[in-house]
């Protein structure tokens, strides 16, 4: 028997597969495709203090083996999420991680504090790396001091474990990881999207109304693997890996690089069953590569 279970701070995962924040809404749409109880965990869409409409459309564009998005953190606000979205999700037997966003340290604190009080939530994911929000989100994710500061403040108001989601748009991702580690982060999520752009040749304008957007999908996989590998060597926190995963081979590759579990984002759009299928196929694939368990595989790609 291949053991898929992984125990992470706050998250007892029956398998290492979870949907990535923002790519799964609040679960309802996907629950029409399969039983969400199957998932290792569910990471819900970013919550801000107030309801947000987000950016103008177009909000997505396709790129070679990837896509750009500039949704702009559209969400019903933290209270709306707690009241309208969590009750439904909590009917499934799978832990829920809430993604916390904001434009100021105070907003992060307030959102985190409210979410951490919800009995439906098992962990928080601190989204300091959304490239599509102008007012400040991006700075937290690219400055180690600010990142440490917001992590520290959120840790103080939350009694649930806090995973910090790192931005790849930085010179030194290891420095960022160390900064949030020393600020008390319980885990890392890596990576968020890379900032990119496309142009409409006919209209001669950026395709996205927001001009730039976040690049996700298979195109960014090698960058995600490199960052996870580098951080794993130097930082002692569990990593939830993501960036272009669409096959069990990809899952194993992320585990080898150093991820303890993985999240699947963009691939849900091409195949709504992807998470469910990956969970079904993972045991055979691990066995094929000679692993008894997921934990056995994590970090095994490092030269020793």
């Amino acid at each position: 028997m291949t053991d898929l279970a992984v125990n992470l701070p706050g998250l007892e995962l029956k398998n290492p597969i979870m949907p990535a924040s923002g790519c799964f809404g609040f679960g309802r749409e996907f629950s029409e495709f399969y039983d969400l109880s199957k998932l290792g965990a569910i990471v819900i869409k970013a919550a801000t203090k107030n309801q947000r409409y987000g950016n103008e459309t177009p909000r997505v564009a396709e790129t070679p083996s990837g896509m750009l998005n500039a949704i702009g953190l559209q969400n019903p606000g933290v209270k709306g999420i707690i009241e309208e979205k969590l009750p439904f999700l909590s009917s499934f037997h799978t832990p829920i991680m809430a993604n916390v966003a904001g434009s100021s340290v105070e907003e992060y604190e307030e959102v985190a504090s409210l979410l951490s009080q919800s009995s439906h939530i098992q962990a928080l994911e601190l989204n300091i790396s959304c490239p599509n929000v102008k007012e400040g989100g991006i700075q937290f994710g690219t400055d180690p001091n600010l990142a440490a500061h917001v992590t520290e403040r959120v840790k103080k108001v939350s009694d649930k474990p806090v995973y910090v989601k790192l931005s790849p748009n930085v010179t030194d991702v290891v420095g960022m990881a160390k900064a949030v580690e020393s600020a008390g982060a319980d885990g890392l999520s890596m990576i968020n999207t890379l900032t990119g752009m496309r142009f409409n040749l006919m209209s001669r304008k950026p395709i996205l109304a927001n001009e730039t957007g976040g690049l996700s999908g298979p195109a960014i996989k090698p960058i995600a693997l490199r960052m996870i590998y580098q951080v794993k060597q130097e930082v002692n926190l569990p990593i939830i890996g993501m960036g272009g995963i669409r096959s069990t081979d990809d899952v194993v590759e992320f585990l080898l690089a150093g991820a303890s579990a993985v999240a699947v984002g963009t691939a849900n759009f091409q195949d709504p069953f992807i998470c469910s299928n990956l969970i079904d196929e993972l045991p055979d694939m691990l066995r094929k590569y000679g692993f008894q368990s997921v934990q056995d595989c994590t970090g095994k790609g490092a030269f020793v």
């Binding site: 809404g25 495709f33 909000r59 997505v60 396709e62 559209q74 709504p272």
Partner: protein
Amino acid sequence: MKMEWMTVIENEPISLDTFKMVLSGDLVHLMTQPGQFLHVRVGDGATNTLRRPISIADLDYQAQQVTIIYKTIGEGTHWLSMRKPDERIHVLGPRGNGFTTEHVCNQDVLLIGGGVGVPPLYYLAKKLTQQNNRVTIILGFQTKAAMFYVKEFQGLGETIVMTEDGSAGQHGRVTDVLPKYQMKTDLYFTCGPTGMLQAVTQQMAKTPGYISLEERMGCGIGACFACVCQTTDQEDGKGYRKICMDGPVFAAEEVIL
């Protein structure tokens, strides 16, 4: 069942850069409303990350066949145009809420379509005539070479063709002839480029109508918030609609264009 590898029965050019594709599969039985769309996977699965939304143009339940009509504008539609009979295509759908026709009987209905907004109106026109409505159809095309399905529409009701360059039908845009039909219309349905929808809804402000919107989509199932539009009602609890799920068809006054 929400998705399926459907079989290509036919895939032929029917006018300038425009193809008609007939697909068969079990999914057809779930397709109920004109205006719903198929979310079609393109490419070999690796290069193209996003599916392409294409409207249902016609349905044949007996043969288990659905027809789509698409214009080749980029990579995905070009890939579609290269498919040969017997090849299989992965289809997610039907998605969205289409044109509601249940209670529309014995009325004077006006259909206004522009370019690739024309296909969904065909199955709609068929349904409406079956329900004893008197259907008038105004179709707008760029030029004569881009015209398609005119004869098919003529079999269903009075059909007025407008071309922007005057190479066929009347010279001008669909909105040029709207005044003539406005007064004798109980209900209208329209689908086409946003500019056309804006002009049509303004001119038809006094008539109840339904519009079908287009937007770049991610998931196509309501989860990613790529395809939203704002509601006209400032007091609306959410303030937005998802085109892929709440639409693509909306009451003309429901959303901001």
